[in-house]
Symmetry: C2
Subunit: 240 residues, 2 copies
Amino acid sequence: MNSTKTFNVSCQQCGLNELCIPHTLTSGEMDEVNHVIKRGKPLQRSDYLFNEGDEFKSLFAVRSGSIKSFSIDDEGNEQVIGFYLPGEILGMDAIDSQSHTTSARAMETSSVCEIPFESIESLSSSIRNLQLHMYKLLSREIHFDQELQMLLAKKTAEERIGAFLMNLSMRYEQRKLSSTRFRLPMARADIANYLGLAVETVSRIFTRLQTANVLKVEGKEIEILSRKSLCDISHLKEPE
Amino acid sequence: MNSTKTFNVSCQQCGLNELCIPHTLTSGEMDEVNHVIKRGKPLQRSDYLFNEGDEFKSLFAVRSGSIKSFSIDDEGNEQVIGFYLPGEILGMDAIDSQSHTTSARAMETSSVCEIPFESIESLSSSIRNLQLHMYKLLSREIHFDQELQMLLAKKTAEERIGAFLMNLSMRYEQRKLSSTRFRLPMARADIANYLGLAVETVSRIFTRLQTANVLKVEGKEIEILSRKSLCDISHLKEPE
DNA sequence: CGATTTGTTGATCTTACTCAATAATCGTGG
DNA sequence: CCACGATTATTGAGTAAGATCAACAAATCG
């Protein structure tokens, strides 16, 4: 019998909510997938997971903690490309060139699973649903990046920060964590960098939103007091 | 004998430089791929290829002309997401949600090939190199979007336009067209929108670059007089 | 050919950046 | 556990890059 129970357990263990496909893989197939995943890889704050230019061999799935990816331009400035929370996968931008186009480091004590790409390749050609899942993962990332593109091209500082917080909120919610109270794993400077703003602007808007009773900010601890206001501010339709 | 000749011919015919994999597919495999591709689909300027919200069934490869993709925000403003030239593929953002997240319309008389995604799915699970090719295509798009993200987050108006023109130049070069003289298929307003600038700014910078003898601009006809200067301006390392 | 859209140029305004000073927090070693 | 320096965050004042508004010119199209 192809119960999905085994799967669910494995999935919880390695945190691969995103990579696993609960309802379409048989437990046997799930075992195969689990088999190629290298667990462990504990990282301390500021440890590198990989470096720009490193040979691409594996995707990484965040199990706990959080990772940021970034690249360094010719003038030596850092550009934050993305933040990865538990259950999220990074490294997908490197499949094409076979070398990492960004560096990745832990923003706090974290652990990740390593998923050798060759294994994914061979498994996904025999497990049709895994192949589709990979296509979807990659596609989702494209869509996510395009949303960000719109944010950066058109939105004001306040809208960017509002949308950023709403996005984090929804991602925490998906991971069954509180969507209204959470700790920002990244520094203000990283948020600013990611959103194309100055640190001072981020700081000012945080206090402004606090004064307007939309947020409660205590250092990195955030409480969203009014989801509705936050959505209004960022001109997003409120999620159900 | 698995000559790649058949392939090359087919490829020229449908313009699928990107989708096809000359050196790794046998001519038999190539035939299979060719078989599922629907040719034709001629589009007049401003014709829609698909609409935001449409069900996702196929990827599209541009054969000739050029397509822009965009989405409309809640206030009814258009946000240009991307421009697609011959040989480029669009629709990949829709695989995950199975519905198009952007609309696409022809910027000039164009023709595209339609590639049913279900066919890609089944072919790519039997043709291993096609699967890898698809992963790479999706990955390339992610990387491209991340470069754009950096552009929008960190660069000045002049750098954005410089990088945009260099990018077009390189894409034309890849397609064996002139990398120094070409016609911009899109309106100034589209460029501005895409790069997160006002039309007026784009216009001003075009004239500024013309005055500095970096460009020759005659409406939509562009001549890059100095690739070096253009790279310097956009803080890019000059491609060989 | 006139009408409409698209592009250019100028003047003014605004948002968010920069610079600067201070405050809070973090991390480390005594 | 506290004290120290270092990093990170906040707040204020002045500035600049690019937006907006407005007028005009040029191209496109029926």
